[in-house]
């Protein structure tokens, strides 16, 4: 089994690394980081370099495709080669997946037309422009497409994905390895739980670019 994780300059690291940490512990899974060009890609605010070991054309066919997101979707959507590659890969994947605004990359590749999908809560309405049906849930499955909400939700998605690919025990074993027994000190992780003025302030700050 081969998993290809797309990288690009501007990517949000945890979107990619959350599911990677789960998927690299799945049995017999070759995990590859791929980009339009090989080499270091800087994350969203420039503070970290992640290495793309493979060019897009070096991946024949991924069984699992994972597209992470970014607070600046143009960083992904303007990468024409990557968007085209997403569509080509999707034709032959077993699962096509995204985290956060990575869903906009799937949508731009035409993968989400008429499909139920999710993305970061601030970007949900953006899916509609591509003919997708936005769903405000943490993990959304529609056929072989699995999309996750914002940033940290990719961990929940990847565990769900492993249970579909293998079984519940395989996913539980990985959950135990990464000690994923979350105990957030606060309960403000979704717009329905956070103070309304905090939600409004974030939309005012990030909304226009999401």
């Amino acid at each position: 089994m081969k998993t290809a994780i797309l990288l690009f300059d501007g990517v949000t690291a945890l979107d990619a690394i959350g599911p990677y940490e789960v998927l690299q512990n799945a049995p017999d899974n070759e995990v590859c980081f791929v980009a339009s060009s090989r080499g270091m890609k800087r994350t969203d605010f420039g503070r970290l370099g992640l290495q793309a070991d493979y060019r897009l054309d070096e991946i024949d066919q991924a069984d699992i495709l994972l597209v992470p997101g970014t607070p600046n979707p143009e960083a992904l959507l303007s990468d024409g080669a990557a968007i085209e590659w997403i569509g080509q890969q999707h034709a032959g994947t077993q699962w096509t997946t995204s985290v956060c605004t990575g869903a906009l990359g799937l949508a731009a590749a035409g993968v989400l037309k008429g499909r139920r999908a999710t993305t970061h809560w601030m970007a949900l309405e953006g899916l509609r422009e591509f003919g997708a049906e936005p769903v405000s849930e943490r993990v959304v499955e529609d056929g072989k497409i699995m999309t996750a909400a914002g940033v940290s939700s990719g961990i929940d998605m990847a565990l769900t994905l492993v249970s579909r690919l293998f079984d519940q025990a395989t996913a539980e074993r990985i959950q135990l390895i990464i000690e994923y027994d979350p105990q957030p000190p606060f309960d403000a992780g979704s717009p329905s739980k956070a103070p309304a003025e905090m939600v409004d302030a974030l939309v005012a700050e990030f909304g226009p670019q999401m």
Copy 2:
């Protein structure tokens, strides 16, 4: 405020990237990835390269020091320059923190002597050899030292840390940005919750090296 995250060959990516994603959203926080030598460090099973932008001696004094872990603690403990640097930095930090077996790096630097601390559930007893008191909790604070349990627990730790550095609202804002409203599909993320035979099998597989 300056946060230094230690990298080394063999590091577990999510140990570093979970807290990084929280801390990089904290106000006025310069986040730096640091290692014994500049350049790409490969993660635990070799599948990803993370870039160390700074050498140890290029960081005058970190306000927050974060030491991530590895399934092979020797990868960290054999890096004598890094262990020495941890001790030097700790003398002037505001907070000294670790995720997973990164705690063994703090311990080897003498930082945890007589202190309550946690680490990956499989490595807890290893802390005792360094004179620390192992505590089976997700996040443990002792003075200015904050240690987190395995891999994914660094997210919970970093949100706690932000609430100490700033206030609860600042932490909640970050929790909302990274949409950290965890919904694990299964409940096997700690040895007290996973099936006993699964726990035993993992200890048999990883235990000797942890």
